[in-house]
Protein backbone atom coordinates (compact mmCIF):
# COMPACT_ATOMS: atom_id res chain seq x y z
CA UNK A 1 0.00 0.00 0.00
CA UNK A 2 2.85 2.36 0.63
CA UNK A 3 4.17 4.83 -1.85
CA UNK A 4 7.71 6.19 -2.13
CA UNK A 5 8.35 9.89 -1.62
CA UNK A 6 10.17 9.99 -4.96
CA UNK A 7 7.10 8.64 -6.72
CA UNK A 8 4.94 11.45 -5.34
CA UNK A 9 7.46 14.03 -6.46
CA UNK A 10 7.74 12.47 -9.94
CA UNK A 11 3.95 12.40 -10.44
CA UNK A 12 3.54 16.02 -9.37
CA UNK A 13 6.42 17.14 -11.60
CA UNK A 14 5.01 15.21 -14.56
CA UNK A 15 1.82 17.28 -14.27
CA UNK A 16 3.47 20.54 -13.20
CA UNK A 17 6.93 20.67 -14.79
CA UNK A 18 7.82 24.01 -13.15
CA UNK A 19 6.89 22.84 -9.66
CA UNK A 20 9.28 22.90 -6.74
CA UNK A 21 8.28 19.86 -4.73
CA UNK A 22 9.42 18.81 -1.29
CA UNK A 23 8.08 15.63 0.22
CA UNK A 24 8.66 14.60 3.80
CA UNK A 25 7.87 11.13 5.13
CA UNK A 26 6.29 12.00 8.46
CA UNK A 27 6.03 8.61 10.08
CA UNK A 28 8.66 6.69 8.13
CA UNK A 29 5.97 4.24 7.03
CA UNK A 30 5.59 5.35 3.41
CA UNK A 31 1.99 6.27 4.11
CA UNK A 32 2.00 9.61 5.91
CA UNK A 33 3.60 12.43 4.00
CA UNK A 34 3.76 16.19 4.03
CA UNK A 35 4.34 17.84 0.68
CA UNK A 36 4.96 21.42 -0.34
CA UNK A 37 4.33 22.29 -3.97
CA UNK A 38 5.19 25.68 -5.42
CA UNK A 39 4.11 26.30 -9.00
CA UNK A 40 3.17 29.16 -11.27
CA UNK A 41 0.04 27.15 -12.13
CA UNK A 42 -1.37 28.04 -8.70
CA UNK A 43 -1.28 31.80 -9.16
CA UNK A 44 -4.65 33.44 -8.72
CA UNK A 45 -6.68 30.30 -8.07
CA UNK A 46 -8.32 29.10 -4.87
CA UNK A 47 -6.62 26.69 -2.47
CA UNK A 48 -9.25 24.07 -3.24
CA UNK A 49 -8.39 24.26 -6.94
CA UNK A 50 -4.65 24.19 -6.17
CA UNK A 51 -5.03 21.01 -4.13
CA UNK A 52 -7.31 19.49 -6.76
CA UNK A 53 -4.55 19.97 -9.34
CA UNK A 54 -2.10 18.11 -7.11
CA UNK A 55 -4.62 15.32 -6.40
CA UNK A 56 -5.24 14.99 -10.12
CA UNK A 57 -1.49 14.69 -10.66
CA UNK A 58 -1.43 11.80 -8.18
CA UNK A 59 -3.96 10.02 -10.39
CA UNK A 60 -6.31 8.57 -7.85
CA UNK A 61 -3.66 7.38 -5.42
CA UNK A 62 -4.64 10.00 -2.87
CA UNK A 63 -7.26 8.60 -0.54
CA UNK A 64 -6.39 5.11 -1.70
CA UNK A 65 -2.88 3.74 -1.37
CA UNK A 66 -1.79 7.11 -0.09
CA UNK A 67 -3.71 7.66 3.12
CA UNK A 68 -2.26 10.87 4.38
CA UNK A 69 -0.66 13.67 2.47
CA UNK A 70 -0.60 16.99 4.24
CA UNK A 71 -0.45 19.46 1.42
CA UNK A 72 0.73 23.04 1.20
CA UNK A 73 0.52 24.76 -2.15
CA UNK A 74 1.47 28.22 -3.34
CA UNK A 75 2.62 30.23 -6.32
CA UNK A 76 6.27 31.39 -6.35
CA UNK A 77 6.86 34.64 -4.46
Amino acid sequence: MAMAAGEIEALVKAALPDAQVTVEDLAGDGDHYAATVVSEAFRGISRVKQHQIVYAALRGRMGGELHALALQTSAPE
Binding site: R47, V48, H51, Q52, Y55, G60, M62, G63, G64, A68, A70, L71, Q72
Partner: protein
Protein backbone atom coordinates in the same frame (compact mmCIF):
# COMPACT_ATOMS: atom_id res chain seq x y z
CA UNK B 1 -28.66 15.54 -10.30
CA UNK B 2 -30.61 12.30 -10.13
CA UNK B 3 -28.08 10.62 -7.85
CA UNK B 4 -29.86 10.26 -4.48
CA UNK B 5 -26.67 10.53 -2.44
CA UNK B 6 -25.64 13.71 -4.24
CA UNK B 7 -29.11 15.09 -3.62
CA UNK B 8 -28.84 14.27 0.05
CA UNK B 9 -25.47 16.03 0.27
CA UNK B 10 -26.82 19.04 -1.61
CA UNK B 11 -29.73 19.22 0.80
CA UNK B 12 -27.44 18.86 3.86
CA UNK B 13 -25.07 21.62 2.80
CA UNK B 14 -27.91 23.95 1.87
CA UNK B 15 -29.87 23.51 5.09
CA UNK B 16 -26.85 23.68 7.40
CA UNK B 17 -24.72 26.83 7.29
CA UNK B 18 -21.70 24.88 8.46
CA UNK B 19 -21.59 21.20 7.53
CA UNK B 20 -18.70 18.86 8.21
CA UNK B 21 -18.25 15.42 6.69
CA UNK B 22 -15.90 13.55 8.97
CA UNK B 23 -14.70 10.20 10.27
CA UNK B 24 -16.28 9.60 13.65
CA UNK B 25 -18.27 12.12 15.66
CA UNK B 26 -17.35 15.52 17.14
CA UNK B 27 -17.08 13.87 20.57
CA UNK B 28 -15.14 10.89 19.27
CA UNK B 29 -13.34 11.67 16.00
CA UNK B 30 -11.74 8.58 14.49
CA UNK B 31 -9.07 10.23 12.40
CA UNK B 32 -6.50 12.86 13.28
CA UNK B 33 -7.47 15.07 10.36
CA UNK B 34 -11.13 15.09 11.33
CA UNK B 35 -10.12 15.77 14.94
CA UNK B 36 -8.11 18.80 13.85
CA UNK B 37 -11.07 20.40 12.07
CA UNK B 38 -13.34 19.67 15.05
CA UNK B 39 -10.76 21.34 17.29
CA UNK B 40 -10.84 24.49 15.14
CA UNK B 41 -14.65 24.65 14.93
CA UNK B 42 -14.95 24.03 18.65
CA UNK B 43 -12.33 26.66 19.42
CA UNK B 44 -14.28 29.20 17.37
CA UNK B 45 -17.53 28.02 18.99
CA UNK B 46 -19.08 27.70 15.57
CA UNK B 47 -22.44 25.93 15.40
CA UNK B 48 -22.16 23.11 12.89
CA UNK B 49 -23.66 19.83 11.85
CA UNK B 50 -21.58 16.78 11.08
CA UNK B 51 -22.05 13.50 9.28
CA UNK B 52 -20.00 10.40 10.04
CA UNK B 53 -18.89 8.80 6.78
CA UNK B 54 -17.73 5.68 8.62
CA UNK B 55 -21.40 4.93 9.32
CA UNK B 56 -22.33 5.10 5.68
CA UNK B 57 -20.24 3.72 2.84
CA UNK B 58 -22.46 5.31 0.23
CA UNK B 59 -21.93 8.71 1.77
CA UNK B 60 -18.19 8.09 2.12
CA UNK B 61 -17.82 7.51 -1.62
CA UNK B 62 -20.57 9.96 -2.56
CA UNK B 63 -18.99 12.94 -0.84
CA UNK B 64 -15.68 12.36 -2.65
CA UNK B 65 -17.42 12.32 -6.02
CA UNK B 66 -19.58 15.32 -5.08
CA UNK B 67 -16.65 17.64 -4.40
CA UNK B 68 -14.03 15.99 -6.64
CA UNK B 69 -12.00 15.74 -3.48
CA UNK B 70 -10.41 12.42 -2.47
CA UNK B 71 -10.22 12.79 1.27
CA UNK B 72 -12.23 13.33 4.43
CA UNK B 73 -12.86 15.61 6.37
CA UNK B 74 -14.64 18.08 4.10
CA UNK B 75 -16.00 21.37 5.37
CA UNK B 76 -18.87 23.25 3.70
CA UNK B 77 -20.03 26.77 4.52
CA UNK B 78 -23.32 27.97 3.05
CA UNK B 79 -23.30 25.22 0.48
CA UNK B 80 -19.74 25.92 -0.70
CA UNK B 81 -16.88 23.45 -0.28
CA UNK B 82 -14.19 25.20 1.77
CA UNK B 83 -11.57 22.47 1.95
CA UNK B 84 -10.09 19.60 3.89
CA UNK B 85 -7.95 19.62 7.02
CA UNK B 86 -4.90 21.37 5.51
CA UNK B 87 -6.86 24.20 3.93
CA UNK B 88 -9.11 24.71 6.95
CA UNK B 89 -6.03 24.80 9.24
CA UNK B 90 -4.20 27.24 6.99
CA UNK B 91 -7.25 29.48 6.73
CA UNK B 92 -7.80 29.38 10.48
CA UNK B 93 -4.20 30.36 11.18
CA UNK B 94 -4.42 33.22 8.69
CA UNK B 95 -7.76 34.37 10.12
CA UNK B 96 -9.41 33.75 6.75
CA UNK B 97 -11.74 31.07 8.06
CA UNK B 98 -13.10 33.44 10.69
CA UNK B 99 -13.66 36.10 8.01
CA UNK B 100 -15.37 33.63 5.69
CA UNK B 101 -17.71 32.48 8.45
CA UNK B 102 -18.56 36.01 9.55
CA UNK B 103 -19.18 37.09 5.97
CA UNK B 104 -21.65 34.24 5.70
CA UNK B 105 -23.48 35.29 8.85
CA UNK B 106 -22.14 32.47 11.02
CA UNK B 107 -21.45 33.52 14.62
CA UNK B 108 -17.78 33.20 15.52
CA UNK B 109 -16.36 33.70 18.97
CA UNK B 110 -14.36 36.92 19.03
CA UNK B 111 -10.72 36.20 19.69
CA UNK B 112 -7.30 37.74 19.46
Amino acid sequence: MADPIAQRIQNDIETNDVMLYMKGTPVFPQCGFSARVIQILTHLEVPFKSANVLDDDELREGIKAFSHWPTIPQLYVKGEFVGGCDIVSEMFQAGELQTLLKENGVPVKAQA
